[in-house]
Symmetry: C2
Subunit: 293 residues, 2 copies
């Protein structure tokens, strides 16, 4: 594998996720923080118009606009679809796309702690993730790479793409602890890449706990699509915790519990993420896997 | 004092605070829930356009549009200023304003638990608050009535106005526990009013812990108004907890703590409320008072 030459760090892909926005501001004010001897780092504010408006997006979720077809389709005219093409252009170098490593900084209303979302299960990604989580075992690793869907998020513009998700953080707020943890993880990844370029990463196998996407559960809804129940208090904030058949997942507005009916124990993530109500997602379900990479 | 004849319950005054919106939906679907023999109850969605958009407001915070001058000024033309006049009209009865009791249901990103905000320190309000908090000592009572500012919020349309604030709840999300607690407190207040009309509320004095507005602290900002620090992790979620001189309240993006410099112990509330960043409010400061009412 060639050395890592170009790294991009993005924040504000969603305009109301302040952690990434203020961290990009900081990195742009103090470029030495992200500078390493053996690769170039560039920083980027994903959705500046949405950042100014303090909203997740203006017309459409930018982080769903990076599908290959979308990026080629010049008839698409909403703000985020145009912005996606501009970002692709910004990240090009000598007509060559993509960057080697792309880190996209996000926050979520779900209790995701500090999560790295892997863009693919390429051994490079897995070993980076294993290394970072060995430094801080509280870091969680999630991937939907085997879901068989195209990755249409910003991280797909990187040869190796990672989303950092921290939560719970309310949209439109800064949480100092989560800000610092996001900065730490970015620094950890940049240091890893530097060591990797220097040949200082050992070949020893490493253990890895990976939560892999299995499916989605939506809120119970009526025929008009109106939500009929809330996340059950026993499930609220229990991201990455085993959900067993028969356990309550929803509570109707009348106080009636609705149980999880699948017959396997899975691990929900992104429970009660604000932005997913409109996407028909109350939570993702994942399988917990112990790997050696 | 005359009996209570008309009660109004509002939700969705801020379009992204789902607790109140879904509770109003429930009350409108099942009117018997808010019906009492001795007064009439009406329900109201404050800002339907903002509810549809999933945003706090369209043009301007509706909950700052109920000043007496504003309500008279027919030249004001933004959506919320027009909506405020319509709400005033909706709540009129035979040309008579205001309703006797107005409950406005809100949520906040701050750790406010379940808070009743009193529109005034009228003995009726204080005794109602004392009664409700005697039923559930976890309920907190806050008032800015002695701040010397006009109440420009929706609750000011009630002869006796109360805002119910629950948190932390992220904008755009439902929290089942907070939904149920809000419903409980509404039911508790309606039951109190019914008993009051029936002469079943004793005259015995009751103790009351009231947090009274003293002032505001904004985030440290640069000359362009850009925020230079976050709420300090030691202060985050510490609403209603004593803040002593010298204790850290902010943390700069470089990790430097900024201390509370006033020389009296006060009790911050609305710490890190998302919607207050643009209003120049990092937290309110309050004085804790023990009253007998």
């Amino acid at each position: 594998m060639n050395p890592i030459q170009r790294v991009a760090i993005a924040g504000g892909t969603h305009g109301n996720e302040l952690t990434g926005i203020y961290l990009i501001n900081k990195f742009e004010q103090f470029p030495h923080l992200t500078k390493r001897a053996n690769f170039k780092t560039q920083t980027l504010l994903g959705n500046p118009k949405a950042v100014s408006a303090g909203r997740r997006y203006i017309d459409k979720d930018l982080n769903r606009c990076f599908g290959k077809q979308n990026l080629k389709d010049m008839t698409l005219s909403c703000y985020e679809e145009i912005r996606a093409k501009i970002i692709q252009k910004i990240l090009e170098h000598n007509g060559q796309s993509p960057v080697d490593v792309l880190l996209d900084l996000h926050s979520t209303t779900s209790n995701m702690g500090v999560t790295i979302i892997l863009g693919s299960l390429h051994p490079f990604n897995l070993r980076l993730a294993a290394y970072i989580s060995s430094m801080n075992p509280l870091i969680k690793l999630y991937s939907s790479a085997q879901a068989g869907r195209e990755d249409v998020s910003l991280k797909s513009l990187g040869k190796f793409g990672f989303t950092i998700e921290v939560g719970p953080v309310a949209p439109g707020t800064l949480n100092a602890e989560m800000f610092q943890k996001t900065e730490e993880i970015v620094q950890g990844i940049l240091d890893y890449l530097e060591k990797w370029n220097q040949g200082k990463i050992s070949d020893d196998k490493m253990p890895l706990t990976l939560y892999q996407y299995v499916g989605v559960i939506d809120y119970p809804r009526n025929e008009q699509g109106k939500i009929l129940a809330m996340i059950h208090p026993q499930l609220q904030c229990r991201d990455y915790t085993a959900l067993h058949p028969g356990e309550p997942i929803f509570l109707t507005f009348d106080g009636e519990a609705i149980a999880y009916t699948q017959n396997t124990t899975l691990y929900p993530v992104f429970i009660n993420e604000a932005a997913y109500y409109e996407k028909g997602i109350a939570m993702y379900l994942t399988e917990k896997q112990e790997l050696i990479v």
